[in-house]
């Protein structure tokens, strides 16, 4: 499989494990309350969201309960002032800032720093 990642002219960036920033898309591609999925150079998938205040969040796109790469297709919301995404499969909720599953303390998503720049 060859990946043709386009990395020029993009504004939403994800900070990778090695500390480098990786551009994924134009901010216009993000709809408040919905996510998009992006492929990272190491083959992982990241789900990127924005809320109505324009803040950006990025978490692993794989749903830890099913293994399917679908979290970018979940609905986001606010629970006690904190942003979350609900898995579209079995509806578990994950805190978008910490990755912690709100329905199961033992499960946590990998999170990424995201910024528009």
């Amino acid at each position: 499989m060859t990946l043709a990642l386009e990395t020029t002219g993009l504004k939403v960036r994800i900070r990778l494990a090695d500390g480098t920033w990786f551009g994924v898309c134009d901010p216009g591609a993000l709809l408040p309350g919905r996510g998009v999925a992006a492929l990272l150079p190491d083959g992982r998938q990241v789900a990127v969201f924005t809320d109505r205040a324009g803040r950006l969040y990025a978490v692993d796109n794989r749903d830890p309960f099913t293994g399917a790469a679908v979290l970018s297709r979940g609905l986001t919301g606010t629970h006690r002032g904190r942003p979350f995404v609900a898995s579209p499969l079995l509806k578990q909720r994950f805190d978008l800032e910490t990755g912690r599953c709100l329905d199961d303390d033992t499960v946590r998503l990998r999170t990424y720093e995201a910024e528009a720049g």
Binding site: A69, G77, F84, T106, R108
Partner: protein, 877 residues
């Protein structure tokens, strides 16, 4: 060493009807099932069932639904219930009962609850083939079977049971006649005015009523079966089937044979404790008993009271307990729905009290008649309600007291100058709310305030109120709500953490204030801490659905992917397809009515083959194609739309399918064109967003091959039109749909479905199917019928207009989406690699097709951060 078991005292109950079962419950409540052996001899082949609701068998309740006997109750209390084994004789000297099976049981106490038998007038031909009585489930099954080869039926008797039977014949599609000897229908319960209102409504339904005539002879044909009946006025009535329903007589033969005292006109004579006057060890309760006041009671409520009285007397025997119950007579209040007409009478309905006055409201055009009997001092003594018995629960409870508002305001219809409604909160604590179980308002309040009940089902369980005829359930609901509110109990009925309102309340806000965005609704009407936030996965799709339902009315876009609407939809609606476990989607094109031409079948086959999709026929008569990747959806749909398909909305909380059988066109039994009707309905309601999915079906005859009665709205053809059933469901909590209206023309059917669906969309909770909604809303089916058939709220014009707007604004979501490059850009696995498929979505072969490659889902999965797992030592999942 052997220890001889101590002889356990034995109670033998003869008869297991509703009263018998109540008696067993009363024994258990008093602990007598623990100290006594209890043997029940039951003649019928099944345990006690709800005889009062017998006719509901024809609107879909099965014999199992009608049961009032919980097998666990019988088992838990060690009751020996012998069905199909009636008592044949009683030897009072030896204290033994002999059953048909030959079983001989000795008793310490014998309780007779043998009920009654239908009275058949001694006319020639009464035993001919085609003559029936109407008393047991077996009678019903026999009538149903015989009616298959009949077109006309006649009922002898225009009383309560006669009208029930006539309703059953009418429901079986027979041309039905009622022959009543008295000059009016229901002579015992209603007066002349009430009889006239009843007559008009029943005749409007197409039944023929013959009053003031008797039956002289049943005429039979050459084969000995019924062909007609000769009446006392000399006329002859052609009929294929006769049901005798001219009253009942106490079944007291067993008592007579063993020398117990019986009344002149039948009935086992008992005292105030329901003990037979001839033998202190023998009791009689229910319809077989001649009570201490010299009357035989044919209603279930007095029977229940007698059951409790007898149980109390048995418990008190051998003790000094003075606290015995007595049965000295009962109220004959009744509320029934006969042939779709509400009829109620209570207290001194016929005004026999000295100096009493009538307050009457009568509107024969609308089939309404309401009469109250009031004493000189303003005390409410009784009344009769025909056509609208809404106020029955409240009025009956006020009987014997002076109501706090003038009596005329209690009978005037709303909008005709009636002042403020009199609610149950005005009732005194001692007022009896449930007359079947003699439960007072004070007891109901206590259930809430002292026993912590917060819902009607809890109150029913705690007090038994509302578990008899059910006529008081609405009043119970009002009392529970009032009590909770008065007690300051916080009942959070809010939709979610963001909204304190219910879905219905949000619907009203969106509708009235034309709110077209979730954000605006949240910021203005959300809970304090939720305003300004992003909402949640519960309120977003709910509000999205409400806005979509009301779109044409409030000026919003009906297209669910437009603007903010797109962000509100659940993933299925967002991608207009159904998400499967591995992240792939399934695709279901609409196949209206399940009818599909070969060319279209071939297109589906080609697409499935070309994209390697797994195909399966659905329960809704269409074809589901599984395994499409998100980026394949637009390409697949471009081909489907090109071939003339449109979205099947299998992904939406909206109309799914309208199944059909082939109907009259092909089937030798069909009586209407069910396929055409199914297609018409499916095309009319396609795309309609609702609180939950909607399923429907149309059957071309009463054989019901389309299984319409398991649907949210089901249609079954009759010889003269369509019957509409609502609130059916399959799945985990199956429910047969209830009959809403009969013999409708095409236009009438569509109008009623329009109203029904829009009323459901307006008032249901989120994810509440029509079946649960119908069970929950106050007044249930009757209320829904009042609203959508009789327009009791005056909203039907509006409901119809809303549906017309939906129909005229409908557009195919997929056709629209594939035309819009911006929307299509979302259909990619990766925003930064639009041509790359999701590597987790893979397939392996199975049975000539393919299935998800599940191991692929586990590759690289690290569900728990390692340091956290080490810290908490918890199992990974």
């Amino acid at each position: 060493m052997t220890i001889a078991p101590e002889a356990t005292p034995t109670i033998v109950l003869v008869g297991h009807g509703m009263v018998g079962q109540r008696f067993l419950e009363a024994l258990a409540e008093r602990g007598l099932t623990a100290t006594h052996r209890v043997v029940v001899l039951c003649e019928e082949p099944r345990p006690a069932y709800d005889r009062v609701q017998l006719t509901s068998y024809f609107s879909g309740r099965t014999p199992e639904d009608l049961s009032v006997t919980d097998p666990r109750f019988i088992e838990d209390h060690g009751i020996e219930l012998r069905v199909g084994d009636p008592a044949e004789s009683v030897d009072r000297e030896a204290r033994e009962v002999t059953a048909r099976s030959g079983l001989v049981v000795g008793y310490d106490v014998l309780v007779l609850a043998t009920g009654s038998y239908p009275f058949v007038p001694p006319v020639p031909g009464k035993d001919a083939e085609g003559c029936f009585v109407y008393r047991t489930i077996e009678d019903l099954l026999a009538i149903e079977e015989y009616a298959k080869n009949a077109t006309t039926g006649a009922v002898v008797g225009g009383g309560l049971l006669g009208l029930e039977a006539a309703g059953a014949l009418d429901g079986l599609g027979l041309t039905s006649h009622i022959v009543e000897f008295a000059p009016r229908l229901m002579p015992v319960q209603v007066d002349e005015g009430g009889g006239a209102a009843l007559l008009r409504t029943i005749e409007d339904r197409g039944l023929s009523v013959h009053t003031g005539v008797g039956t002289q002879e049943i005429v039979t044909g050459a084969d000995g079966s019924v062909t007609g009946m000769r009446l006392s006025d000399g006329s002859e009535l052609a009929t294929d089937l006769v049901v005798f329903s001219a009253g009942v007589r106490p079944r007291d033969q067993l008592a007579r044979d063993c020398g117990l005292t019986v009344g002149e006109r039948g009935g086992i004579a008992v005292d105030e404790q329901c003990r037979t006057v001839a033998d202190p060890r023998v009791f009689a309760i229910g319809e077989c008993a001649l009570a201490a006041d010299g009357r035989v009671y044919g209603l279930v409520a007095p029977g229940y009271e007698q059951a409790q009285t007898a149980a109390a007397a048995i418990a008190a025997d051998g003790t000094d307990e003075a606290d015995r119950l007595t049965f000295t007579g009962a109220d004959l209040s009744t509320k029934l729905k006969l042939l779709g007409v509400d009829v109620a009478s209570f207290g001194d309905a016929h005004g026999t009290t000295d100096g009493c006055l009538d307050v009457v409201y009568s509107d024969s055009r609308a089939g309404l008649y309401k009469k109250l009997v009031v004493g000189g001092d303003g005390t409410l003594l009784g009344g009769i309600l025909v056509g609208d018995a809404e106020a029955y629960g409240t009025l009956r409870a006020f009987t014997g007291s002076v109501p706090p508002v003038p009596p005329e305001s209690l009978v005037l219809p709303a909008g005709a100058g009636a002042p403020a409604q009199l609610g149950p909160s005005a009732l005194p604590d001692e007022a009896v709310v449930c007359s079947c179980h003699n439960v007072t308002k004070g007891t109901v309040r206590g259930a809430v305030t002292e026993h912590g009940c917060t819902t009607v089902p809890e109150v029913k369980k705690c007090t038994k109120a509302g578990t008899g005829c059910g006529s008081c359930v609405k009043v119970l609901g009002q009392l529970v709500t009032a009590e909770l509110e008065a007690g300051g109990v916080e009942v959070d009925r809010g939709l979610c953490g963001c909204f304190a309102q219910t879905r219905e309340e949000l619907y009203e806000i969106v509708h009235a204030l034309r709110v077209t965005s979730h954000r605006e609704l949240l910021d203005r009407y959300g809970r304090e801490g939720a305003r300004g936030g992003d909402g949640c996965e519960v309120c977003k799709p709910t509000v999205g659905s409400v806005i979509a339902s009301l779109a044409p009315v409030i000026g919003a876009s009906g297209y669910v992917l437009d603007g903010e609407q797109a962000a509100l939809q659940d993933t299925n609606d967002h991608f207009l397809a159904n998400l499967q476990r591995n992240g792939s989607y399934s695709v279901v094109p609409r196949i209206p009515g399940g009818e599909i031409a070969p060319e279209k079948l071939i297109v589906i086959g080609e697409i499935a083959r070309d994209f390697g999709l797994y195909t399966k026929i659905t329960g809704g008569q269409r074809i589901d194609m599984f395994g499409a990747r998100v980026e394949q959806l637009p390409v697949i749909w471009a081909r489907l739309v090109d071939a003339g398909f449109e979205s099947g909305h299998a992904y939406g909380k909206s109309l799914r399918t309208v199944k059909s059988c082939v109907g009259q066109t092909w089937c030798r039994y069909g009586v209407q064109d069910s396929v055409r009707m199914a297609i018409d309905l499916e095309l009319r309601y396609r795309g309609l967003r609702s609180p939950h999915k909607l399923k429907s079906a149309v059957s071309g005859c009463a054989r019901e091959c389309a299984e319409a009665r398991s649907k949210d709205f089901g249609v079954i053809a009759t010889a003269s039109g369509w019957n509409l059933y609502v609130g059916g469901n399959g799945g985990a909590t199956p429910r047969h749909a209830d009959l809403l209206a009969q013999d409708l023309s095409d236009a009438e059917l569509v109008r009623l479905v329009d109203r029904f669906l829009m009323f459901y969309i307006r008032t249901a909770d989120r994810l509440e199917r029509t079946s649960a909604w119908l069970e929950r809303i106050p007044g249930g089916l009757d209320h829904v019928r009042d609203v959508v058939v009789h327009d009791s709220l005056g909203i039907c014009d509006e409901l119809e207009a809303q549906m017309r707007a939906h129909v005229s604004h409908y557009r195919d979501e997929w056709a629209e989406t594939i035309e819009d490059p911006e929307k299509l850009a979302r259909f990619v696995s990766f925003v930064n690699a639009p041509d790359t498929p999701d590597p987790v979505v893979g397939f392996v072969p199975e049975r000539d097709q393919m299935k998800p490659d599940l191991p692929l889902l586990n590759i690289g999965m690290r569900p728990v951060q390692p340091e956290e797992a080490a810290l908490e030592g918890s199992a990974q999942r």
